[in-house]
């Protein structure tokens, strides 16, 4: 169970105090560009630009970015392999065939597109995730007509998440210290492992309840009635940064357009 390193990075980010709307718009624009623009150069440029933003002005360490990307990369690879391998008795001019399995030009192109789209898209999401704490995003939603109670439930979820998470980590540690990880070699050891896991999950459930109940009574003492509204200072827009964001997306599209035009001219 790794710590929530992406969250830590978001809180420490030099862009934390930039307007959420600007960062959100940038991230969404990059994601959409990755999906809609021609894969080469559009999607590739989005990937490169996102990685550059993350490692450059957003000051995220390379190891941190790789850590965050490792889980999606596994899924992307699995998906790419299944797209790459075509099934069926009679593929159209395959590069390679073995029984019902084949690799065809279409499947190669499709798998390539998928990998680039997914990598660039995930990096574009990371631009938002590594610079914007979840709570800022939820506040932004509250300010943009998402009903208050929904945002409050989500915000409290975010707060409780770390408390419940640390309980889970501590319980796991304790179980290891008390030899709760016997190698599964027999029915007996398998039973012990399952019982430990169920005990941990059940305890986490009970503790989540207990935490909620206690926080409720703590909030009652603070005078909470219907709303949990808070106040935070205004964040002035950094016009240069916002212009930079817009310029970046525009530049990617300009390159795409030029690329297409040059290729058409070459034809």
């Amino acid at each position: 169970m790794a710590a929530l390193a992406v969250d830590d990075a978001a809180w420490a980010s030099p862009w934390r105090r930039q307007r959420v709307g600007d960062k959100l718009l940038l991230s969404l624009a990059l994601i959409m560009t990755a999906l809609v623009a021609p894969v080469v150069p559009g999607t590739v440029l989005v990937g490169v630009a996102s990685a550059a933003l993350i490692l450059g002005p957003a000051h995220i360490r390379w190891s941190m970015l790789m850590g965050a990307m490792s889980a999606p990369i596994v899924f992307i690879a699995l998906g790419a392999i299944s797209v790459l391998l075509s099934v069926g008795a009679s593929p159209i001019d395959p590069y390679w065939q073995w029984g019902f399995l084949s690799v065809t030009p279409t499947s190669v192109a499709m798998a390539g597109r998928l990998v680039l789209h997914a990598l660039a898209g995930t990096l574009a999401v990371m631009v938002l995730a590594l610079t914007t704490p979840m709570s800022d995003l939820l506040d932004w939603m509250a300010a943009h007509r998402v009903p208050g109670p929904l945002v409050e439930v989500a915000s409290l979820t975010y707060r409780l998440l770390f408390i419940v998470w640390s309980t889970a980590v501590a319980l796991h540690d304790t179980q290891l210290r008390r030899l709760g990880d016997p190698p599964i070699r027999s029915r007996e050891t398998a039973r012990l492992r399952w019982q430990a896991t169920a005990g941990a999950v059940g305890t986490i459930l009970v503790r989540s309840w207990d935490r909620a109940r206690r926080l409720e009574s703590g909030l009652a003492a603070r005078g909470a009635e219907d709303s949990l509204a808070t106040t935070s200072p205004d964040r002035p827009r950094d016009r240069r940064l916002a212009a930079g964001f817009a310029g970046l997306v525009a530049a990617i599209w300009t390159v795409c357009l030029a690329w297409v035009l040059v290729r058409e001219a070459a034809w």
Binding site: D139, S155, L215, G218, T231, S232, P233
Partner: protein, 270 residues
């Protein structure tokens, strides 16, 4: 003598299905005093504090605030909370916002104060608790001691007349205890009445004016030196005698020395 800021009269309180935790308890809190509330784990200290802040409704008896009985309807409670604030022992039971500044702003925002006033009070409270540097950090990254201060800041931002604190020094290192004590002294200098529940008898003796001991569902109160000199009461309440009193008793020194300086003074007296 002026009207006590809070007066508890014959209050009984408990939880559904359980025996009474407090049984016809009376207590007065004088304005500007430092009252320490002592008692074993589970003795009912926290229940008493919750009654004082209005979040627990007594089964019987009454609580007078500046001589006026406290009602438990929404309107009365709202008025009461502007005057009396409770900080619980575990900061995770009160901090609900991810962002420190926002969490501290909850009380003033909830009071309906104008935006500028809210932000000014938040800055003031953060400054008083020496946690201004944490304003933009998330609660979940803070240490236990830091979260405890932020929780106190959340109450202080409401500028209450009475601040009730449940074990504000529990779990802190000695320097953290000293810092918290200094903060409470500053609050008192600003006119806040502080009621502090603690297990730390040395601290209670050194810093309290009056002490109230919760024992056997009852409350025994008096001057802190007298109360803690009563060996029978201290034992029944599962407390310890503070060392200056224990030493004075063993050596037959007069009076109730409250700390190192007073003990040294008594010992070096001709």
């Amino acid at each position: 003598m002026s009207t006590p800021v809070i007066e508890v009269r014959d209050v009984s309180a408990g939880y559904p299905g359980g025996p009474p935790v407090l049984d016809r308890v009376s207590l007065t809190v004088e304005r500007g005093s430092r009252l320490v509330l002592l008692g074993a784990n589970g003795s009912g200290k926290t229940t008493l504090l919750r009654c004082l802040c209005g979040s627990h409704v007594p089964a019987s008896g009454s609580i007078l605030v500046e001589g006026e009985p406290l009602g438990h309807d929404r309107r009365s409670l709202r008025a009461h909370r502007r005057r009396v604030q409770l900080v619980m022992q575990d900061p995770d039971d009160q901090l609900f916002s991810a962002d420190v500044r926002q969490d501290v702003s909850f009380g003033p925002t909830n009071m309906g104060l104008p935006r500028d006033e809210v932000l000014a009070r938040v800055d003031e409270a953060l400054d008083l608790l020496s946690v201004t540097h944490l304003a933009d950090r998330p609660c979940h990254q803070l240490s236990y001691g830091e979260r405890k201060r932020v929780a106190i800041a959340g109450a202080v931002a409401m500028r209450p007349d009475v601040l009730l604190l449940d074990e504000p020094t529990a779990g802190l290192d000695p320097a953290g205890v000293r810092e918290t004590v200094a903060i409470l002294a500053r609050l008192r200098d600003q006119g806040t009445t502080v009621v502090l529940a603690t297990h730390d008898v040395d601290l209670a003796l050194a810093r309290g004016d009056r002490a109230a001991v919760v024992v056997d569902h009852q409350v025994v109160s008096g001057g802190v030196g007298e109360v803690l000199s009563d060996a029978g009461l201290v034992a029944r309440a599962r407390l310890d005698q503070p060392w200056p009193l224990a030493l004075a008793q063993r050596l037959g020194l007069p009076g109730h020395p409250r700390g190192l300086d007073e003990v040294v003074g008594l010992l070096q007296a001709p």
